[in-house]
């Protein structure tokens, strides 16, 4: 083929510019230490890399969540352990005082100590993490426990017939010693004043007799004649209904009287892809439901204190048995928290494995093999020099050099 000067110069130009571009690419890869510097460098690889980056970002976030959950669970664990100590102290005290060797004065002194234990229990029950009460269910900005019993807002039952459009309001000054889970249930349907109701003090286990509303709107005293030693009937809690719509048989309204201000809701965090973990123990799980005399720790302590003040040995003995229940309950809560902490630890390890694994994969896709790239740079450099040398030699050749 006939080769002209233009061809030679064009080839030199193109080859050198191609080599320069390759050198630039290798240099860019080495400088960024990334194999992929723009989507077109490896479109498929980039898509994978982006997916992996997102997974890594998620794993990182799970780590943050887990740290948060761990601090909650650890705070819960140590609080329950303190509660354990307090329960044991109360039980030891009750055991001592149940023997006939102590007299009324000593029992009265013991009653003061039981009051101290109660106060300490309230204090630890109000433990906060980052300003949030960990025993309040999901009412985490509400103080979990008060020292005194208070009448909580009346709540309409979730299974109520919607025919009643009025509102139920609780009020009154509670004078009792123990928590209550008052339930008002409609037994005869009709408007307020026509309908009849019955009342339970223990969350709906036992019921009082049917009653009619006395007036249509005035607050109606809902206490009734359940008579027992621990739950005297002189309470003073009231509930009033506004007259609007019709009450239906089976409609329920609850008024809790308790030290506990939170709710029973769980709080969950994300610890992995579609994996959630509950990080709280609600106060009513930890210290017993309102009105549940057999399990409510505060009721037990109040009962114990009362029996001690009354110098009632039988009452003190009964309290020992109940405190044993409370201890079992507390230990089972502790075990539950412990297993959740364990799960968190397992999960953390799994995530760190996953992170290492994904980081490796990302690096395999995205990162540059520096040794290989350096070799490539060297070889490109040599080729470039050779090309320059050969270009210089070829362009020297001309007939002109031999003409005079």
């Amino acid at each position: 083929m006939r080769v002209t000067q233009a061809t030679i110069y064009q080839n030199i130009n193109q080859n050198i510019s191609k080599l320069t571009e390759q050198l630039k690419n290798v240099n860019e890869q080495i400088a960024s230490s990334k194999r992929i510097n723009r989507p077109s460098d490896d479109p498929l690889g980039l898509t994978h890399a982006l997916n992996l980056k997102e997974v890594l970002s998620q794993i990182n976030q799970y780590g943050t969540n887990i740290n948060h959950g761990q601090s909650w669970l650890q705070a819960t664990e140590s609080t329950l352990q303190s509660a354990e100590d307090l329960i044991i102290r109360a039980k030891t005290l009750a055991t001592q005082m149940s023997t006939e060797t102590y007299d009324a004065t000593e029992r009265a002194n013991a009653a003061v100590e039981v009051q101290n234990i109660t106060e300490q229990l309230v204090q630890i029950g109000n433990t906060r993490v980052n300003g949030r009460y960990i025993f309040s269910g999901d009412k985490d900005r509400t103080q979990a426990l008060d020292l005194n019993l208070s009448i909580h807002q009346a709540v309409a039952g979730s299974g109520n017939n919607a025919a009643y459009t009025g509102t139920a309001t609780s009020s009154g000054t509670y004078t009792g010693l123990y928590s209550k889970g008052y339930v008002v249930q409609i037994t005869t349907g009709g408007a307020v004043g026509v309908a009849q109701y019955k009342v339970s003090e223990d969350g709906g286990v036992t019921w009082g007799p049917d009653n009619a509303f006395t007036t249509s709107t005035a607050p109606t005293n809902i206490y009734d004649s359940i008579n027992s030693r621990e739950v005297p009937p002189n309470q003073g809690a009231q509930i009033a209904f506004t007259n609007s719509g019709t009450l239906t048989v089976g409609d329920r309204f609850t008024v809790e009287v308790s030290q506990y201000n939170g709710d029973s809701d769980e709080m969950s965090i994300i610890i992995g892809p579609s994996a959630q973990l509950e990080i709280n123990v609600a106060g009513d799980t930890a210290f017993g439901q309102a009105g549940d005399t057999a399990n409510n720790l505060f009721d037990m302590l109040a009962g114990l204190k009362n029996s001690l003040q009354d110098n009632d040995t039988l009452g003190v003995q009964a309290a020992i048995e109940r405190l044993r229940n409370a201890q079992d309950n507390n230990i089972s809560n502790l075990a539950d928290v412990g297993s959740r902490l364990n799960r968190i630890e397992v999960n953390r390890n799994m995530l760190s494995d996953l992170e290492a694994n994904n980081t490796n994969r990302l690096s395999g896709i995205e990162d540059l093999d520096i040794a290989k790239a350096s070799l490539e740079l060297n070889s490109k450099q040599m080729i470039f020099q050779a090309a320059l040398y050969s270009a210089a030699k070829v362009t020297e050749l001309s007939l002109l050099n031999y003409m005079k």
Partner: protein, 577 residues
């Protein structure tokens, strides 16, 4: 004529011919670096012989003509490949820019912003009552919104730039057409005498090559030397000394000011690439970004709308809500009354089709009581009543469900007849218009993290958990494909998470860019080969010209010796007397 005078004449002719040979060589050397220059060669011919005393004698040399070493086939191939190369080059450089818009290689793109957004929801779920977490979420959401808008606006600007480029390209075509037409006239004039207008042709060839860079063309040389140039699809550009102008009006390109768009007849070259980018490639990415943004808005809003704020309020939007379009299709409808859809379908209601059936007896709208039964998306159903006895005025909108309304026009309806209304979210421009709603933008407390209406449940994170779960939610998201310069717009459902959808989209652009790059390299190497072929025929070799120069130089010297010789002969003849 004979004898010494003849010799003198032969020498004179030789001197002139070799002189001309040197001129041509000089012209070649002078143009060694001129692009498009075709090597010229002097055609020498021995003069007709004559008979002198039965001896046949030649009359020396004639410089017959100057020819071009021109290969029509290679030149045509180069023109075609030039078009393809220019097309891929333009596509590649634009896509290089577009993939830069996505900014993913630095790790600061939408991929990270979306991950941050989801993570912020998780942070909020860890502390649903926390103002800091709420504010951080709004910030991350704002970053994501801005990135969406940035990419989308970048795409729109790039698309707009294509029109500016087109305007310039069309001007250039017009100028080139004009020059080619003028050269046609000069070539026809110059070649009327039979000699080739070599340099004018070179000039015209290089104009043709410039024109090829802009768009695919076809050309044909007529007997008189004039070129007829058309686009590949046959739109006439130049014929002889005539040419037709193209003009751009908005997105349309007109030929000879006839107001009918011919842009589909311009393929290849820079213009072809600009049109493809403007009508297919860029709108496709815009549509897909809109689809992603729309899905994000819709999914987050649907959950957010039904959650509760810190104050226990509900029905708050997180993003500005998407509007719905309602399209009515008649099923069997034989009545004369025309049904119409209206109202504003709630943006958080499910998309789908409402099927209406006339369940009452046939009758006249307004006169008879008419009832339509309907079934809607999400298993909903109900009836719509149009009172008789003048109770309903034809054309009045009546509520159906979720803000959707219908009306019946004056006329009759027939029992059992059906029509349907399809409600679908309108995602057009979503990536451009995506914004935080005024509900939450300045009021972090209005973020609905809770699923309880009790404001005391400050720790309720159920809704935040539900929203963050969208990150891993497998959704059917429409993936658009634009073909035939926007003539075919089709979509298929792509199952995956929103993040995956985006990642694949970036991969698509990278793939398209790298393919354009490979095509460009291929065309470039083809052109290089053709150029070498062309140069091997038409290019100037300096060595060759040097040899030619020596050849003519020595011949010139020899011819001048002949003048000497004949001079001496003449002198000796003159001295004889």
């Amino acid at each position: 004529m004979s004898g010494i005078t003849l010799l003198m004449n032969i020498a004179r002719g030789a001197l002139l011919a070799q002189q001309k040979g040197l001129d041509v060589t000089g012209h070649n050397i002078a143009n060694v670096n001129t692009p498009g220059y075709t090597r010229q060669a002097l055609v020498l011919q021995s003069s007709e012989e004559t008979s002198l005393n039965r001896v046949k004698l030649g009359f020396g040399v004639n410089a017959d003509s100057v020819t071009q070493a021109f290969d029509r086939f290679i030149t045509k191939s180069i023109d075609q490949k030039t078009s393809s190369l220019a097309e891929y080059e333009t596509e590649k450089s634009t896509l290089d820019y577009v993939q830069g818009l996505f900014n993913e290689q630095t790790g600061n793109g939408l991929n990270r912003d979306m991950a941050d957004f989801w993570n912020a929801w998780q942070d909020l779920s860890n502390n649903p009552g926390g103002i800091a977490e709420r504010t951080a979420l709004l910030e991350k959401a704002q970053n994501m919104v801005q990135e969406f808008q940035g990419i989308r606006n970048g795409l729109t600007q790039t698309k707009d730039e294509m029109n500016i480029n087109l305007k310039g390209g069309i001007e250039e075509i017009n100028t080139l057409d004009d020059q080619i037409a003028k050269l046609n006239a000069r070539i026809v004039e110059a070649e009327a005498g039979g000699t080739k207008a070599n340099d004018l042709r070179d000039k015209r060839n290089s104009l043709i090559q410039n024109l090829s860079q802009l768009t695919d063309i076809s050309y044909l040389e007529k007997d008189d030397g004039a070129l007829t140039v058309t686009t590949k699809s046959g739109v006439a550009l130049v014929d002889g000394n005539l040419h037709w102008t193209l003009s751009q009006q908005g997105d349309d390109i007109y030929w000879n000011d006839i107001t009918s768009d011919i842009s589909n007849q311009l393929t290849g070259g820079k213009i072809g690439a600009w049109l493809d980018l403007r009508d297919d490639i860029l709108p496709q990415y815009m549509a897909n970004m809109d689809e992603l943004a729309g899905t994000m808005i819709q999914q987050v809003n649907n959950l957010h709308y039904n959650g509760y704020t810190s104050a226990g309020q509900t029905h708050k939007y997180f993003f500005d809500p998407i509007s719905f379009t309602a399209v009515l299709t008649n099923g069997t409808w034989t009545g004369t009354s025309i049904p119409a859809a209206g109202g504003t379908y709630a943006s958080t209601a499910p998309a789908g089709t409402f099927q209406f059936t006339v369940t009452s007896a046939s009758g006249t709208v307004g006169t008879d009581a008419i009832t339509l039964g309907w079934t809607g998306p999400g298993g909903t159903s109900g009836t719509v009543n149009f009172a008789g006895g003048g109770g309903y005025v034809a054309g009045t909108m009546v509520d159906v469900s979720q803000g959707l309304q219908i009306s019946l026009g004056a006329g009759t309806v027939v029992n059992g007849n059906t029509f349907s209304i399809t409600v679908a979210p309108n995602f057009t421009d979503s990536a451009k218009t995506i914004a935080l709603s005024s509900d939450v933008a300045d009021t972090p407390a209005n973020i609905a993290a809770s699923q309880s209406n009790d404001p005391a449940e400050t720790g309720n994170n159920q809704n935040a958990l539900a929203i963050q779960a969208l990150q891993d939610g497998q959704l059917n998201i429409k993936k658009w494909t634009y073909q035939n310069r926007g003539g075919i717009q089709s979509s298929t459902n792509q199952l995956g998470t929103m993040d995956e959808y985006y990642n694949i989209l970036v991969g698509d652009i990278g793939l398209m860019d790298s393919q354009a790059g490979q095509n460009q390299d291929l065309q470039q190497s083809l052109i290089n080969q053709l150029n070498e072929l062309r140069d091997s025929v038409s290019g100037v070799s300096l060595d060759e010209e040097m040899v030619n120069m020596m050849k003519y130089q020595y011949a010139y010297i020899a011819a001048s010796k002949m003048v000497n010789a004949s001079d001496e002969l003449l002198r000796s003849v003159l001295n004889m007397t």
